[in-house]
C-alpha cells in the first residue's frame, strides 16, 4: 500500500513538475521514483534470497566447498529461520566436509564463530560435530551428532536433524552397523534424502529386519543417483534374502536350544586352579564374549568365591611364608592377592558392561535350566559371595567417585561462573550424562539412587545458571528434561516437583 502511494506520488509529482516546469518538484519526483525502485529491488532480492538461498547453498555452494557463500546463503534462507546463525555455520561446516582435503584455517574460523554464538541450538551442535568429522575425530563427531538429536524439537530446524541423521547413517553403513542405520532412520522429524533412503533400504536387508522388496530396492537405487558407485551395494543387497515380519502368534514359540559353546576352557578340579584357568581364559579374550554370555562372568566370580570359602589359599600362603622366612605376613599376602582378584573382576565387569550381580544371577539361571529346577528367583545381590561382593563394592565405589568428581567439577565452575562457549557447555553436560548413565548401567538402580542427588544438584544449578544468567535455553531445557526423567526413575519426589516446574509440566 505504502509503495503504491509512493508510486502514485512519484508519477503524479513528475508529471505535475514537468507540466509546471518546476525544477525542485522534478528532482523530488525523480528521487521518489528512485527510492521506490530501490525498495522494489531490495524486496525482490530478499524474497529471492529467502526462497533460493537454501537450494543455492545446498546445490551450489556446499558441493563446491564454498564455505562463506554457503553460510551467507543459508543465513537468509527460509530453511534455517529457526536458527539462522547455527544454520549458516552448519552449511559452512558441510561445505568444508565437501572439500577434498581438510582446511584447518576454515575450521578454525568456523569454530571461532561457533564459540561466539549465544543460546546455541541443534544446528550449532551439529556444525560442531561436522567440524570434528572434518578434523578426523569420528568418535567426537558421532557423540555430538547423537546428542544433537536429543535437543528440543522446537528449536531444531528439520534440515539440521536430517543432516545429522544422514551423517550418522553413513557412519553406521560404513562400519557395517546395519541395525543401527535402520534405527536412525526411525528417529522422529527426519526426512531423508533419496541417497539416505537407499542406504537404509540396503541396511534393513543386511540387518534382517523388514525392508523393501527387490523392486523397492531397484526404485530406491534409481532415485538415489550415482548409479555406478552404488550398483555393487545394490547387487549385494539383492543377493541377500529378504526377511519378512514375523506374524504375531498366540503362544510364544518354544525357546531355542541352548547354543553349543565351544570356547569354554577345560576346568581342573582344584578350586584355585579352576578360578585361575577361568581368569586367564576370559581376560585373554575380547570382552564381547562376556557381554554376550554374562553367565561366563558369573562362573568366574563364583569360582573365586569358592576359593575364598575353602581357605586353601591362606594355608598355601602361610606354608610358603614359613618356608621363605616371612612368618606372620601370610595373612597380609593373601589379602593382597584377593585384592588383586577383586580389582580384576571389577575391571572385567566394567569392560564388558555387565553387572556382576546380574552375571551371577544369569549363571544361576543357566545351572537351574540345566537341572530343570524352577525354584524361587532370589534377589540378585543376595547371590553375591565374599569376593564377588567385594568386586561389586569396589566397582561401585570407583564409579561413584568418577561421577562425583565430574559433578563437582561442573558445580565448582557454575559457582565461580566460569563460562564456556555454548557448544562446549553442551559437551560438558553430555560428558557428565554419559559417565552417569554408564555407571548406572553397571551399578544398577541402587547406584543410580546414590549418585542422583549429587548429579541433580550440580546439573540443576548448572542448567539454572545457563537459563537465568546466560539465556542458553537450548542447552538448559534438555538438562531439565533429563533430570525429570531420571528423578522419576529413582523416585526422588522433591527433584520431580522441582524439575516439573523447570520443564513447565504440571
Amino acid at each position: 500500500m505504502i509503495l503504491w502511494i509512493l508510486w502514485i506520488f512519484g508519477v503524479l509529482g513528475e508529471r505535475g513538475a514537468i507540466a509546471a516546469g518546476d525544477p525542485v518538484g522534478l528532482v523530488i519526483a525523480i528521487l521518489t521514483l528512485l527510492f521506490f525502485f530501490g525498495l522494489v529491488i531490495y524486496f525482490v532480492v530478499l524474497a529471492l534470497a529467502r526462497a533460493l538461498g537454501g537450494p543455492l547453498a545446498r546445490w551450489v555452494a556446499i558441493p563446491f566447498g564454498l564455505d562463506r557463500a554457503a553460510g551467507l546463503l543459508a543465513r537468509e534462507s527460509l530453511e534455517w529461520q529457526r536458527d539462522p546463525k547455527g544454520g549458516a555455520l552448519l552449511c559452512g561446516a558441510l561445505a568444508l566436509l565437501h572439500r577434498p582435503r581438510h582446511d584447518e584455517a576454515i575450521a578454525t574460523r568456523l569454530a571461532a564463530e561457533l564459540a561466539a554464538v549465544k543460546d546455541i541450538g541443534a544446528a550449532g551442535v551439529i556444525a560442531s560435530g561436522l567440524l570434528a568429522a572434518s578434523r578426523g575425530d569420528r568418535d567426537g563427531a558421532r557423540e555430538l551428532l547423537v546428542g544433537a538429536l536429543d535437543l528440543e524439537m522446537s528449536r531444531t530446524p528439520p534440515a539440521a536433524r536430517t543432516i545429522a541423521s544422514e551423517w550418522l547413517i553413513a557412519d553406521a553403513v560404513h562400519q557395517g552397523a546395519w541395525a543401527q542405520a535402520v534405527k536412525l532412520a526411525e528417529e522422529p522429524g527426519v526426512s531423508l534424502s533419496a541417497r539416505a533412503r537407499l542406504l537404509v533400504g540396503v541396511a534393513s536387508r543386511f540387518a534382517g529386519t523388514h525392508g523393501p522388496t527387490d523392486a523397492g530396492l531397484w526404485i530406491l537405487w534409481a532415485l538415489a543417483g550415482r548409479h555406478a558407485a552404488t550398483r555393487p551395494l545394490l547387487d549385494r543387497a539383492l543377493a541377500t534374502p529378504r526377511v519378512l515380519h514375523r506374524r504375531r502368534q498366540d503362544a510364544p514359540p518354544p525357546p531355542p536350544p541352548p547354543p553349543v559353546v565351544d570356547d569354554e576352557p577345560e576346568l581342573p578340579s582344584d578350586p584355585l586352579a579352576r578360578a585361575l584357568t577361568l581368569h586367564a581364559h576370559w581376560t585373554a579374550r575380547d570382552p564381547i564374549h562376556l557381554r554376550l554370555h554374562p553367565a561366563r562372568l558369573g562362573a568366574l566370580c563364583r569360582a573365586w568365591d569358592e576359593v575364598w570359602q575353602q581357605a586353601a589359599v591362606r594355608t598355601l600362603v602361610e606354608a610358603r611364608a614359613a618356608h621363605l622366612g616371612v612368618l606372620g605376613k601370610g595373612e597380609a599376602i593373601a589379602d593382597d592377592f584377593f585384592a588383586e582378584v577383586v580389582e580384576d573382576l571389577a575391571a572385567l565387569s566394567e569392560e564388558c558392561g555387565v553387572a556382576i550381580a546380574e552375571a551371577i544371577a544369569a549363571e544361576r539361571r543357566k545351572g537351574a535350566a540345566a537341572t530343570d529346577e524352577d525354584g524361587p528367583r532370589e534377589a540378585e545381590d543376595a547371590l553375591l559371595g565374599a569376593i564377588s561382593g567385594r568386586a561389586v563394592a569396589h566397582l561401585r565405589s570407583r564409579l561413584l567417585g568418577e561421577v562425583e568428581a565430574a559433578a563437582e567439577t561442573m558445580e565448582s565452575r557454575t559457582k565461580s561462573e566460569r563460562a564456556l562457549p555454548s557448544v562446549e557447555e553442551w559437551k560438558e553436560w553430555t560428558r557428565l550424562r554419559q559417565i552417569y548413565e554408564r555407571a548406572g548401567q553397571l551399578g544398577g538402580l541402587e547406584l543410580r539412587r546414590l549418585m542422583f542427588p549429587q548429579v541433580h544438584r550440580s546439573a540443576c544449578n548448572f542448567a539454572v545458571w545457563l537459563w537465568n544468567e546466560r539465556k542458553e535455553y537450548g542447552v538448559s531445557k534438555p538438562i531439565f528434561r533429563w533430570l525429570l526423567t531420571e528423578a522419576e526413575a529413582v523416585g526422588d519426589e522433591q527433584a520431580i516437583e522441582l524439575q516439573k516446574r523447570n520443564v513447565g509440566v504440571n
Binding site: 553413513a170 557395517g176 576352557p265
Partner: protein, 127 residues
C-alpha cells in the same frame, strides 16, 4: 594393570620357571636368558603364558628377577603362576561375522561388512 597382565607380566612366566624354583635357579635362568637375548637367539625371544605367548626383552627379564627377590612379593606372584603356562588355550582369531549378534537372534543371515562408499555418496570426506 592391563588385561591379562597378572599372567602376562608374571616373573615366573617371564623367566620360564615354576613357582617352586629356588632363588638360585631363578638367578641362573635369568642370567642365561639375558645372555641368549644379547646373542639374539630366537629361543629366548618369546615366553609362554596362560594368556598366550608374549615377547621377551632384557628389561622384562631383569624386572622379573628383581620382582621375586622380595619374599612377600614372590609369594604373591607364585599364586598367580600356579597354572602351567600351557594350561589354557590361547584366544582364537576373531570369527567372521557380527560379534554383537546374540545366540538367540532369529534367522542367521550371511555377515555383511560395511560399505566404503557411504560418506562419498553424500559428497563428504571420510573422517
Amino acid at each position: 594393570m592391563a588385561r591379562g597382565g597378572r599372567f602376562a607380566d608374571n616373573p615366573f612366566y617371564v623367566l620360564g620357571v615354576r613357582p617352586s624354583a629356588s632363588r638360585l635357579e631363578i638367578e641362573r635362568e635369568g642370567q642365561k636368558l639375558l645372555g641368549m637375548i644379547e646373542l639374539g637367539l630366537r629361543a629366548a625371544s618369546t615366553y609362554a603364558t596362560p594368556v598366550g605367548p608374549r615377547p621377551r626383552s632384557a628389561d622384562a627379564v631383569r624386572g622379573a628377577m628383581a620382582d621375586v627377590r622380595a619374599p612377600e612379593r614372590r609369594i604373591l606372584r607364585e599364586l598367580w603362576a600356579t597354572l602351567p603356562a600351557e594350561a589354557t588355550r590361547p584366544p582364537p582369531s576373531p570369527p567372521e561375522g557380527d560379534p554383537f549378534r546374540r545366540d538367540d537372534a532369529p534367522a542367521p543371515a550371511p555377515a555383511q561388512s560395511g560399505w566404503e562408499g557411504a560418506f562419498s555418496l553424500f559428497g563428504w570426506r571420510r573422517p
